[in-house]
């Protein structure tokens, strides 16, 4: 597996260049598709940032699950753990959250809400435990196993919303709304922005602090840079470090599921995630796996989604364009980063 250090942007021009290149290619594609790129950009910007409500209720709310899952991916990738199953860990968290929110009606909010979030994080970590143990104990690569666990989570979600947690009438594949006391309060009255955004920022700061200031964080980065060197030269027992990376990553993704249930949907339903766990990989990469930058790139992706919806509504351009733009953005970062690397290697005489 390659080293996460390969993604360090180092120079800011990779990020800026990627955004510029993506903008140019997108505009070109829109022209080919017969659309006016300026009209599209205007509609998208208006939808994402055009008013306080557009920004707070749409852009920011959409970016919250991406912030938390992006952090989850960065947390694992930094330690060289290729957890691409944030999707499943998020769903495990969402299932746990829905369950707590439904059965805990009698509990007061000060107890119910923290319990919901804690259990969501725990469920996410539990979902990551299987691939973690397979990696640490049996040496099975995590790329395929984390992916497999996501599929199990998707089927489990479909089962619980048609089985044990289905709404009482038994018609729709969804749960009843969770208890009022299990919901995250609004942050700005009159908007849909909920307390989850504060949780995401706190989580990002905590992860950044862990990476920069603690022994554990140093070990994680060392193992991520080179497991052999960490073991031989650094005398680091890689097993526990890898385990922490898996479980922490799973917990953050699980928390994302819990926050989404408690802050936005108030219920669980079939096909719950539109792919947050996969988009999160792009979010984390664009942030060069830096926890604080994850907040910014998640916001960018949230704006992209909000803008795309507005583009469809106001300019008649299919919203799926946003997905293609995300792909272009990742490819641009990969290509530019590789070029920078070669240029640097060349100047060092390698």
């Amino acid at each position: 597996m390659p080293r996460p250090d390969r993604f360090r942007l180092g120079a800011g021009w990779v990020g800026a260049g990627a955004v510029a290149a993506t903008g140019a290619v997108s505009a070109l594609l829109l022209i080919v598709g017969g659309y006016d790129p300026f009209e599209a950009a205007g509609a998208a910007l208006g939808g994402a940032f055009g008013s306080a409500d557009a920004f707070l209720s749409v852009t920011l709310v959409r970016s919250i699950p991406l912030m938390l899952t992006g952090l989850a991916v960065a947390f694992a990738f930094r330690a060289g753990v290729w957890n691409i199953g944030a999707e499943g860990q998020l769903l495990a968290g969402a299932i746990a959250a829905a369950w707590v929110g439904l059965v805990g009606r009698a509990l007061p909010a000060w107890l119910l809400l923290p319990m919901l979030l804690a259990l969501a994080a725990f469920a996410g970590a539990l979902w990551a435990l299987v691939p973690a143990l397979m990696k640490v104990r049996l040496g099975v690569g995590e790329v395929i196993t984390t992916l497999l666990m996501s599929f199990v989570a998707i089927e489990l979600t479909a089962f619980v919303v048609r089985g044990p947690l289905q709404e009482p009438r038994g018609v729709f594949p969804q749960t009843e709304a969770i208890a009022a006391g299990a919901r995250l309060p609004a942050l700005v009255p009159g908007t849909r922005l909920h307390l989850g955004v504060v949780l995401a920022v706190v989580a990002a700061v905590a992860v950044a602090w862990l990476f920069r200031q603690t022994k554990l964080g140093f070990r994680m980065r060392a193992v991520g840079a080179s497991p052999e060197a960490a073991r031989m030269a650094g005398k680091i027992d890689t097993g526990p470090v890898t385990l922490v990376a898996f479980l922490g990553s799973g917990a953050l993704a699980g928390l994302a599921g819990g926050v989404q249930v408690a802050g936005v949907t108030y219920a669980l339903y079939e096909g719950y995630s539109p792919g947050w766990g996969y988009t999160a990989i792009a979010v984390a990469l664009l942030a060069a796996l830096d926890p604080l930058w994850v907040l910014a790139t998640a916001l960018l992706f949230g704006a992209l989604e909000a803008g795309a919806a507005a583009m469809q509504r106001d300019a008649g351009i299919p919203a799926v364009w946003a997905v293609a733009v995300q792909a272009l953005l990742i490819l641009a970062v990969l290509a530019l980063d590789q070029m920078r690397r070669r240029a640097n290697a060349g100047s060092a005489g390698v």
Partner: protein, 308 residues
């Protein structure tokens, strides 16, 4: 359970397993060369749209399959340009290619046919009954009265096995996936082998997509690949990177999906979603070594030459 119900179940198993088999057999070749193409999903959806457009343009299902294969190959070429040519991370590149495939096909479809979602009727790929074989009781119809693309999967399984384990090129391909440095030292052109293996994988994924649109659904819908690219990666692991086993694993995944129809036909109200999870759990067990030894190629997902 009557014989008719069992026959319908077997038929559905093969129908649902065939696209998985095509994509997974291709991915097995790619992975044997040390490349994991998470962008397979993008190649499948491109193959489905390419198949639909090709079939419409030439008013023929066969032309649709060729167009689908081409579309899948182009998507794999994009993936290979980055992951093999530039040596970018395979997982991230694959994620991008899947997103790009889903996004662009959706955009092209809406631009061409409008966003209202009027169902598209395509020239279909009709089932072909193989004489004699299709007359075998119980399994004959299920296995041998299918679309021609299904027979391609049957033929590929032994052919690829022979290629991997009995030919010089197959040996070189496996060496590239296990020990690329040693292979390069022995004069194998590692990146060229990886490029070709990736292109073959994408082409077959494109055929799988065309099969979905033309033999399975008779129409194109956005996101109709429905995760099959990722499932195919699981199928390869359950099939232990060995083509005949990969084919069987794909049919097994197909059977798990077909079980829901059987349960409905039998009037049983069992939670079929739990049955759908079984193949994934079995694949995990296989990877853990509980079903014999299943080991991924040693250099899987490792860029070559190694990053400086």
């Amino acid at each position: 359970m009557s014989e008719a119900e069992l026959e319908l179940f077997l038929q559905a198993s093969v129908r649902l397993g065939a696209p998985l088999a095509l994509a997974a057999l291709g991915e097995a070749v790619t992975e044997r060369a040390g490349v994991i193409n998470i962008g397979l999903e993008g190649a499948i959806i491109a193959g489905a749209l390419g198949g639909a457009l090709g079939a419409l343009a030439f008013e023929s299902g066969g032309a649709g399959v060729l167009a689908g294969a081409l579309a899948g190959g182009i998507v794999a070429l994009v993936f290979a340009a980055f992951a093999v040519g530039l040596g970018t991370d395979q997982i991230i590149t694959g994620t991008a290619v899947t997103l790009g495939g889903l996004g662009l096909t959706g955009a092209v479809y809406q631009a061409r046919f409008g966003a209202t979602g009027t169902a598209l009727t395509l020239p279909t790929l009709a089932p072909v009954r193989l004489p004699l074989l299709a007359d075998i009781p119980l399994i004959g119809d299920a296995l041998f009265a299918q679309a021609p693309t299904t027979y391609l999967a049957y033929a590929l399984a032994p052919a690829l096995w022979y290629f991997f384990f009995r030919t010089e090129w197959g040996l070189e391909l496996r060496a590239v996936g296990e020990q690329p440095d040693a292979a390069a030292a022995a004069g194998v052109r590692v990146r060229r082998v990886r490029l070709l293996a990736t292109l073959l994988g994408g082409t077959l994924a494109g055929v799988a997509g065309a099969h979905l649109a033309l033999a399975h659904a008779g129409t194109f819908a956005e996101n109709m690949s429905a995760g099959r690219g990722f499932i195919a990666i699981a199928v390869v692991a359950l099939g232990r990177w060995n083509p005949p086993w990969v084919l069987l694993a794909a049919l097994f995944f197909g059977a798990a999906s077909a079980l829901q129809y059987l349960l409905q036909a039998l009037g049983l109200d069992l939670p079929y979603q739990l049955f759908l999870a079984i193949p994934y759990l079995l694949t995990l067990a296989a990877l853990a070594g509980w079903l014999g030894r299943a080991r991924a190629p040693a250099a899987l997902a490792t860029p070559w030459p190694p990053p400086r």
